[in-house]
């Protein structure tokens, strides 16, 4: 069984986000970039399934050369080989177009991504990829099991959960809960250095959206402290001042 896991790098979750003075980009000075947490879960689940069913796990990134440390980390965690498409991942349509080109040339059975990246929070690469490839896409999946050529998934829906049955091949966007991320061990780190990492140039594809401007959310005013022995005051303020109840 051939697995493709699409990963992207994002600022570490503890990062205090700031933007460049012209507000056109993230200020990346001092920012540590990590594998998008949902992508790491997708990678782990792919490895678990490979161990149970046999096969290979390929990781793919659309990103510049500065993503290679994180690609090596994915190889250290256990992926067999890696592809880097040498382009800036700015628009979901463009990114999905690039991944689709690779997927068309390789018969992957299961293509996994994170449910969204924690930088742009769009969550559209898995669904766009499904459409480009004419395959089912299951967003926000919390479970994935495979039996022959049929997969059973669980995904989050508004107000509940849904069990979905899908033919392979498929594309799924992975949510927390599907697997626990693995920490690379020393052997993994050593072997990762010699695993294949193929760099290819992007194909011509359209970019249909872009971020023109960034800013920080407006600052909150000072917090009004209320005496713990006067909780009635809180209820009063919530009603009369905040008009929230």
């Amino acid at each position: 069984m051939k697995f493709l896991v699409c990963i992207t790098q994002v600022p570490d979750t503890t990062t205090k986000i700031t933007f460049t003075p012209d507000q056109k980009a993230l200020n990346s000075a001092g920012v540590q970039f990590i594998i998008n947490p949902y992508d790491e879960i997708a990678l782990t689940r792919a490895l678990e399934l490979k161990e149970a069913l046999g096969g290979t796990v390929t990781v793919l990134t659309v990103g510049q050369a500065n993503t290679e440390a994180n690609i090596r980390k994915a190889l250290a965690i256990g992926a067999d080989d890696a592809i880097r498409i040498n382009a800036e991942p700015t628009d979901a349509y463009y990114v999905a177009s690039q991944i689709a080109e690779v997927a068309k040339k390789n018969a992957y059975d299961v293509i996994l991504t994170g449910k969204e990246s924690i930088d742009y929070n769009g969550g559209q690469v898995p669904t766009m990829l499904g459409e480009f490839l004419g395959l089912p896409s299951i967003s926000v999946a919390t479970k994935l099991d495979i039996n022959g050529t049929v997969a059973t998934l669980e995904r989050e829906i508004d107000g509940g959960k849904e069990v979905v049955e899908s033919k392979l091949p498929l594309v799924a966007g992975v949510q927390k809960g599907m697997a626990e991320p693995r920490i690379p061990n020393m052997r993994g780190i050593m072997t990762a250095k010699t695993k294949p990492l193929v760099v290819s140039e992007p194909v011509g594809a359209d970019k249909l959206s872009s971020s023109s401007q960034f800013e920080l959310p407006p600052a909150k005013g000072a917090c009004k402290m209320i005496d713990p022995n006067n909780v009635a005051e809180l209820v009063n303020l919530l009603h009369t001042e905040a008009k929230a109840i």
Binding site: I118, N121, T127, L208, L216, I226, D227, L238, A242
Partner: protein
């Protein structure tokens, strides 16, 4: 501009192929109507599944002139490929330049597919009306709530996924005309299918809740969530939790709000026994009013909250429940 809006319908609180519209649907129709008004256009809603004619006509109150009703026995549950296909066919029929959908879980699972079919740029999780229609620019959150960005869509057709709870429902007079629309499907559209939907214990969907009561490690164990649930029920609120609480299994993962959980923006957010780490604040910072209850006066949440009580949650919350009961009986 001709605007198409996907009017999602629900049955017993779950997305469905037949049933009723709810608030997020009306938000999306109202939002579409405002864009149509600003650009002297019209609004067509596409409804997939068995919804009563009266309910479809009533979308006119929110600004839709016409409803395209797609009924097909195979669409008794959300199917991302088939739904996206029907929405895209409706957009082509109406020559729509803008397609609006509520960015619910269902919206998320179809938006990208519609975008590819129409070769349209997508704003995934808009929080406001377009600030400009040339270039077409819309604001959304980024970095999981730690930032805001203006997205410029350059394609001829634009798709807007509007974040639930971020646009007010507007109502007026009007009745929409209802037209049957025979969208066509392929076998590939049905390569995946819904087997079962399960409701998460009768609660309000977290992403749409007006009030959210959330608690963290300060509660010391899952057995102490009773008071959180009681407070939530009194207020008609959804319950949520911080990441460590979901990680140790005191609460299910789908309740985790924060940077790697879900991002919410309710009217009122209660943070009980949550310190307010930057990752948590990212997920809740767009709440309109925040109440922090914590026994550590240095807790970072007090810097982000509107109101704070520095005290023991096990004393403060029961008192709060009593006071809310008194308030409810007086109002």
């Amino acid at each position: 501009m001709s605007v198409l809006v996907f009017a999602e319908n629900w049955s017993e609180g779950l997305p469905s192929g037949g049933g009723k519209f709810k608030k997020s649907t009306y938000e999306a129709v109202s939002y579409a109507a405002e864009i149509a008004k600003q650009t002297s256009g019209t609004v067509t809603a596409v409804v997939i599944g068995n919804v009563s004619d009266d309910d479809m006509k009533a979308l006119g109150k929110y600004g839709a002139q016409k409803v395209l009703s797609v009924k097909n026995n195979k669409l008794n549950a959300l199917n991302p490929s088939a739904h996206a296909s029907a929405i895209a066919q409706a957009a082509q029929k109406e020559s729509s330049k803008v397609v609006v959908l509520s960015y619910t879980y269902s919206g998320k699972s179809v938006a990208g597919r519609v975008a590819v079919r129409l070769k349209a740029g997508l704003v995934a999780g808009a929080t406001a009306l377009p600030s400009s229609t040339s270039p077409f620019t819309i604001r959304k959150k980024c970095f999981s709530g730690k930032g805001l960005t203006d997205v410029v869509v350059s394609s001829d057709i634009k798709i807007i996924g509007i974040t639930p709870n971020s646009y007010k429902v507007t109502t007026g007079e009007g009745t929409a005309s209802v037209e049957n629309f025979a969208a066509t499907f392929t076998d590939a559209d049905f390569a995946s299918s819904s087997k079962e939907t399960k409701k998460t214990s009768g609660k309000i969907a977290l992403t749409e809740a007006e009030i959210v009561v959330s608690a963290g490690r300060g509660l010391k164990g899952s057995e102490n969530w009773k008071m959180v649930e009681e407070l939530a029920e009194l207020l008609g609120a959804a319950t949520a939790c911080s990441k460590p609480v979901a990680d140790v299994g005191w609460r299910p993962h789908h309740e985790h709000v924060g940077q790697t959980g879900i991002t919410i923006g309710p009217n009122l957010y209660f943070a009980i026994g949550i310190s307010g780490a930057i990752q948590h604040l990212a997920g809740v910072s767009s709440s309109k009013v925040i109440v922090a209850i914590n026994n550590d006066k240095e807790a970072p949440f007090f810097k982000a909250a509107t109101y704070g009580i520095c005290g023991d949650a096990f004393e403060v919350v029961p008192k709060l429940i009593e006071e809310i009961k008194k308030f409810k009986s007086a109002h």
